[in-house]
């Protein structure tokens, strides 16, 4: 089999958040990592007297999490997810999140989900490192939709 082509890193990924699903804020200048997980299907299994392996059945999709790590700043509030999402976290409002692994240009794929914030992290402090202050959030929502960006 021929080796895969078109493989790229996530160095140009684009991450956006919205509080209404219409007006998006590009937080790519502050986001450091994004890790989706979950959305497994409900599953069950049972055994019969014949055969050695179980019979497996599946049900609905479970919820999943998207954990986003961002830098912490108190001056660039437009890019600060902590400030952007603080009120939504407190109110339990819906938060929309979408990300494009290759950058969000025309023809790139984009994943989008909506859910509730289950975590909005406080910046930890450590005098023994020179690491930038970081914060982040976790959104728990439905299985993301995948689309191709047309404009």
């Amino acid at each position: 089999m021929a080796q895969a082509t078109g493989v790229e890193s996530a160095k140009d990924a684009k991450v956006e958040v919205s509080l209404n699903g219409t007006d998006w804020t590009d937080i790519s200048g502050a986001a450091n990592s994004l890790q989706p997980s979950g959305w497994n299907k409900q599953r069950a299994e049972t055994y019969t007297f014949t055969g050695n392996n179980p019979i497996v059945t599946v049900g609905k999709n479970e919820l999943g999490d998207v954990a986003v790590t961002t830098i912490y700043t108190e001056t660039d509030t437009a890019n600060d997810a902590f400030d952007l999402l603080d009120s939504a976290y407190d109110a339990g409002d819906d938060v929309y999140l979408r990300w494009s692994p290759l950058g969000g240009g025309v023809g790139d794929r984009r994943f989008a989900t909506v859910g509730k914030l289950t975590a909005l992290n406080f910046p930890g402090v450590d005098a023994s490192t020179a690491n930038p202050l970081m914060t982040g959030f976790t959104l728990r929502g439905g299985r993301p939709t995948a689309s191709i960006i047309a404009s």
Binding site: V106, G107, A112, T145, A146, S147, I148, I149, A150, S151
Partner: protein, 56 residues
């Protein structure tokens, strides 16, 4: 250019689902067709005028 959506396509106004049609410029259409996201919709030909010769 009019295209038919094959795989969900995202535009600022909405997401277009398979089977829907939308208008995009030629450059965008070429990219989307290359990605297998849309296919070009052939413009319908002008219907022929009814042949009235010999009707009488």
């Amino acid at each position: 250019m009019k295209v038919e959506v094959l795989r969900r396509v995202s535009r600022p106004d909405k997401d277009y689902l398979p089977g829907e049609t939308l208008i995009v410029d030629q450059q965008t259409a070429a990219i989307l067709i290359g990605k297998g996201a849309v296919t070009e919709v052939a413009e319908p030909k002008q219907p022929n005028k009814p042949d009235t010769k010999g009707a009488e």
